[in-house]
Amino acid sequence: MTGFINGCFAALGLVTASIALPQSALGQQSGAQAPQTQAPTTYANVIPPRLVEKTLVAYPSHAEGDAVVVLVVTVNADGRVRAASVQSGEPPFTDAAVDSVKGWRFEPATRNGKAIAATIRIEITFRAPVAQDVGSDEPSDVTAPTQTQTKETGSGKAHAAVAKVPQPIEVTIAGDRRAPMVVSLARTEVRQIPGTFGDPFRAVEILPGVTPLLSGLPYFYVRGAPPGNVGYYLDGIRVPYLYHVAIGPSIVHPGMVDHVDLYSGGYPARYGRFAGGIAAAETTKPNPTWRGEANVRLYDAGAMVEGGFDQGKGTILLGGRYSYTAALISLAAKDVKVDYRDYQARVSYELSTKDQISLVGFGAYDLIATESGGISTVRFGTEFYRGELRWDRKIGDDGHLRTAFTLGYDQSSMVGRVNAQNRMGGLRTEFRKPLARTLHLRAGVDGLLESVRASHVPYEDPDNPEAGLVQRLFPPREDSVLGVYGELGIEVQPRFFITPGVRVDYFTSGSATAVGVDPRLSAKLKLSDRFALVHAYGIAHQPPSFMLPIPGYSLGSLAKGLQTSYQTSAGIEWGLGKGTVLTSNLFHNVFTNLTDALSVPEGLQQLDDMNQRSRGRSYGFELFLHRKLTRDLGGFLSYTLSRSTRRLGNDTFPAAFDRRHVLNTALAYNLGRNWRAGTRLTLYSGAPKIVQTPPVPVNTEAPTAAPAMNPRIAEPPRDPAFYRIDVRLEKQWRYGKTTHLSFVAEVLNVTAHKEIYQGTEFGPIFVPSLGLEGGF
C-alpha cells in the first residue's frame, strides 16, 4: 500500500485514516493511482460519482485506537453530498467521518451521460496516533482503493447500481493532532457518564487533576490552580463560565458540542492568559444535512437544529435552552425565582472552494431573584454574549488560516453590591501549516480591547467598609492585550517528537502595563507502539482574576503584576489493548503573585482581600484508566493524589480546598434491547479546617491581650471525606437509521449524602432528572 504517509505525519503525532472510495473518485489526487473505472455490471450505462474535492477526515483528538466506519453517502446531481449516514462504526469516529464527508465534492454519477443522484458506500479506516503531531488536520495523501457500491436514487426510489471496481482506492488522511497532555472527552461518551446530565462541560470534573470545591458545584481546581485561573474556551472564543448557576447545565446545547479538551498544564502556546488549566470545547463542524436534537427534562428544555441551504453551500444552526425551574421552585418557595437560558446560532457559507465565512453567536443568562412586598429584587444575575464573524481559508492542501472578529458583553448584578459590566472586542488570526515532512508550524496573533465598568450601588451605607470597594476592585478602565504565539512540531527522530512554542502577551489596564513571555515545551518519546513517555513544561501568565469566573468581575490591580505559574509534568501513555488506555502523570506547579482569595483561609473576610497576592505550589500524581463508555462494557477510573499549598508572608499552609485524594470511577453497561445503565462513584478527602481558638481552662480574672490566633497552619485538621454515587439509566428507541428517542433517568447523589465543609453540613445536593431526548 502506497497510501500511508504515516512516516510523515507520525513524526508529528498525526494519525492516519484510510478511506475507501471508488477508484475513479481519486483520479485527480496527488499520489493516487490512476483511475481504473469499470462500468458497473448491473447498469452498464451508470458511472458512479467521482471525488473531485475532499475535506479533512480528522482522527478525533479525543479518540483512541483503530476504527472502521462505513458510511452510506448520497451524492446529488450537482456533486454535493446530500446525506451521509452511518452503516457501521462507533462514535466519535462516525461523527468525524460524517462531518468530513459532507464537505466533499464529487463529479456526479451519470446514467447515459446525464447527471443523476447516487448513493455510494464509503469505508473509512482510522488508525490510532502513532506520533505526536502539531498542526495539520488536512488530508495529506491519496493512495490505494477499495470497492464501492452505488445506488441511483431518482425520485426517492433507489435502484441498486453496483459499480464493480476491480481495485479498491484508498485515501490516506492525516488526523488531527493530539497535544501531549490533553485529556479529551467526546460528547457521545459524556452522555453516558452518570451525574453529568449529558453535558460535555460537566464531564471535566471527572478528569484527573481536577479537584472540586463542593459536590455538584461546577467550579474546580485544576492541578492546584483555583477556578479563577482556569480558562474556558468555546471554539477558541474565551467565555467567562461554562455552566449555569449552581448545579445548572452547561451554557451551550450539548448537541452542538463535539468534544471538550482539558489541558491541565504545559498546554499549547495558542492558549494563554490563564495561569491554571484550560478547558476548551469545540463545536461540531457545519453540517448541511438537516439534523436536530431536543430534550425535555424536569427542570429545563432544549433544542438544536442544523441544516443546509443554497445546495449545501451554507449551513445554519440554531439552539437554545430554557429552564422552568422558576415554576418548580415557586411551588416550594414562592418568593424565589431561578431562571436560566441560553442560545446558540451559527451561520456558515462557502464563498469558494477554499473560503468559508461564518457568523457565530451565543449567550447565556442566569438570574436568582426574590420577591417581597410585590417588589422583585435581583440577588444574583449574570449574562454574557459573544458574537463572532470568522473567515476560514484553506492554504494549499493542508494549511489553514482563520481570521475572526469577536464582540462580547458580560454583565453581573448583585443588588446592594455591584453591577459590573465588561464590553469587549477582539481580532485574532490563526495559522497552521506543515512546513516540511517533519516540521509543522502553528502561529497566531490576537488583540482584545475591554471596557470594564462597575456601577455605583444606589443604596449603600457610606460607613460600610465595603462601600466603594466595588469601585476599587473593579475600577472603571480600559484594558487591552495583544498577543502573538508560535509553535513548531518537530520530529527529531522517528519516535521522538518535541513541540517548542512561545507566546508573548502585552497587557494594559488603565495606566498599568505588563508583559508575559510564556515558553512552552512538550515532548513525546515512543518506546513502543503502545507505550510512550510524555513531558510538558510551560510558563503561563495571567492578569489579576476574581476568585470565581463571574462575568464582568475583573480585578483592576495589574499594577501589582501578573499572576504566574510554572508548570511541569511527566507521564506515560500506555495502550493496554481492547480499547483500554492508561495514562499517568506526575506534576509540579509553582504559582506566584496569585490573586487567589479562595484558597487562603479567612481570605474572604473583606473584599479588599481579593487583591491579596499569594504564592503557591501544587504537586501530585494522576492516574486515568479509560475504556470508552460507549462500548458494551466501558468505564474509567480517575485518581488524583495531590497537595496544594499557599504562602502568605512567612506562613505556608494548605490551600482552602486542598484535597489529598480525589477518585472518580464509572461503569456503563449495555443491558441489551437498547437499555443502558451506568453508575459512578465520586470520592474525595476533606478540605483543611480553619483552626479556632481551643477552649482551654484559664485562670485569669480579666481579659488579657493574646497573640492573634493564626489559622494558617501547615497541617490543620480536615473535614471528613465525602462520597457520592450517581446512577443513570437509558432506554433508546430507534426509528430508521438516524432518528431516535430516549428516556433517561439520572440521579446525582442517589444516597443523598451530605458534605461537610469547615465543620458545616451542606446539602445534601441531590438532583434527580427524568427526561426525554430525541434526535434525527
Partner: protein
C-alpha cells in the same frame, strides 16, 4: 447589501440584544437611620467624661471607665418587607462618648422589622468616637474567660468590654469583664403611643430614625423570670452578690474574677446557673433595647463565626 455586510449587521444585532438582566426599576425606598444611645437619665448622671456612673438598688455606686460594645449586622426583614440595602457590618462604640452615636443606615420599603447584633468585631469593624485601632485589636484578640456551667473556658474576642468598680461603705470592688458570646436581636417591635408597632412602616422617600438603647445598669439587674405573677418584678440585688463572690466566697482581693462568679448559684426553670452565666446569658442581652424598655426582640446568638 452584500453578504458580508449582512452578516456583520446580524452580528451586531446579536450583540445588541445584550443587557437582558432586569434593570433596577424598584420604587424609591425609605432610609432607616439607626443610632445608639444610653437612657437620658443615665447620661445626665454622667459627671465625668469617659466614665459612666450610676447607683444600684442595693446601695452600690458603679463607675464604668470602659464600656465598649461591638454592634451592627443590621438588616430589615418581614413578609412584606423589601430590603434594598442592609448594613451588614460592625461598629465599636464607646458608650461614654456623647450620644446618640450612629450605628448605620439601611434602605427598605413596606413593613419591615429590624434585626441587629452585638457581636465580636471583625477586622474591618468601624471605629466609633473615641475608639482606636488598638481598642479594636484588643476587642478582636483578647482571650475572654467565660463560664459554661462549672467550667471556665475561654474564647477570643469580645462583643462587650466593661471595666470599672463598685463602691459601697468604703468597700471597692473592681471588675474587668469581656463578653464573647454575641447575641442577635431579631424581628424587633416597639411600643409607639401605647401600641405595639408590629412593623416599621417604611414609605418611599421618607427617612425613619431609630435609636437603639443600651442601658449599662441592666447588667447589674436580674429579675428572676420564673417568679410567680403575684410576686413583684423586683430586681435581684445583683451587685451585692457580685461583691460577695469576692468578699465572702472569694479571695477578697477586691477584684471579681470569673472563677469567683461561678460560685453563687441560681436555679431557673430547674436549671442551675451560676452568677457568671447570669451575666453572660441574661443580663448582658437585657441591656439592649429597640427604642424603649417595652420593646420586644427575638433573642438569638450572633452568627459571628465569619467575623
Amino acid at each position: 447589501m452584500s453578504a458580508t455586510s449582512s452578516l456583520t449587521w446580524s452580528l451586531l444585532t446579536l450583540v445588541a440584544c445584550a443587557g437582558c438582566l432586569p434593570a433596577d426599576l424598584r420604587p424609591e425606598p425609605s432610609k432607616v437611620m439607626v443610632d445608639v444611645d444610653m437612657p437620658l437619665d443615665l447620661r445626665q448622671m454622667q459627671a465625668v467624661p469617659n466614665a459612666i456612673t450610676f447607683p444600684t438598688a442595693d446601695g452600690w455606686t458603679i463607675t464604668l471607665d470602659r464600656f465598649f460594645v461591638s454592634m451592627g449586622n443590621m438588616m430589615l426583614q418581614g413578609p412584606s418587607c423589601a430590603e434594598y440595602a442592609s448594613a451588614w457590618y460592625g461598629r465599636i462604640l464607646d458608650l461614654s462618648q456623647p450620644g446618640p452615636q450612629r450605628l448605620g443606615q439601611l434602605w427598605g420599603l413596606n413593613g419591615c422589622r429590624l434585626t441587629f447584633e452585638a457581636m465580636r468585631p471583625s477586622e474591618n469593624a468601624v471605629l466609633g468616637a473615641g475608639v482606636t485601632e488598638e481598642d479594636r485589636s484588643y476587642m478582636r484578640h483578647a482571650v475572654v474567660p467565660f463560664a459554661n456551667g462549672d467550667q471556665i473556658l475561654s474564647d477570643e474576642g469580645m462583643a462587650l468590654h466593661v471595666r470599672g468598680n463598685a463602691t459601697k461603705d468604703q468597700i471597692q470592688i473592681g471588675f474587668d469583664w469581656g463578653f464573647s458570646t454575641g447575641r442577635r436581636f431579631g424581628e424587633c417591635k416597639r411600643v409607639v403611643d401605647g401600641e405595639v408597632e408590629d412593623h416599621l412602616p417604611l414609605v418611599g422617600g421618607d427617612t425613619t430614625e431609630i435609636t437603639l438603647g443600651i442601658d449599662p445598669r441592666e447588667l447589674f439587674v436580674f429579675i428572676d423570670p420564673t417568679r410567680s405573677p403575684a410576686q413583684p418584678a423586683t430586681a435581684e440585688l445583683l451587685m451585692q452578690r457580685i461583691a460577695d463572690a469576692d468578699q465572702v466566697q472569694g479571695n477578697q482581693n477586691g477584684r471579681v474574677s470569673i472563677e469567683e462568679l461561678v460560685v453563687p448559684k441560681f436555679t431557673i426553670r430547674d436549671r442551675e446557673l451560676n452568677l457568671a452565666d447570669v451575666l453572660r446569658l441574661i443580663t448582658f442581652p437585657s441591656m439592649f433595647n429597640y427604642g424603649g424598655a417595652d420593646s420586644i426582640c427575638r433573642l438569638g446568638f450572633a452568627d459571628d463565626d465569619g467575623r
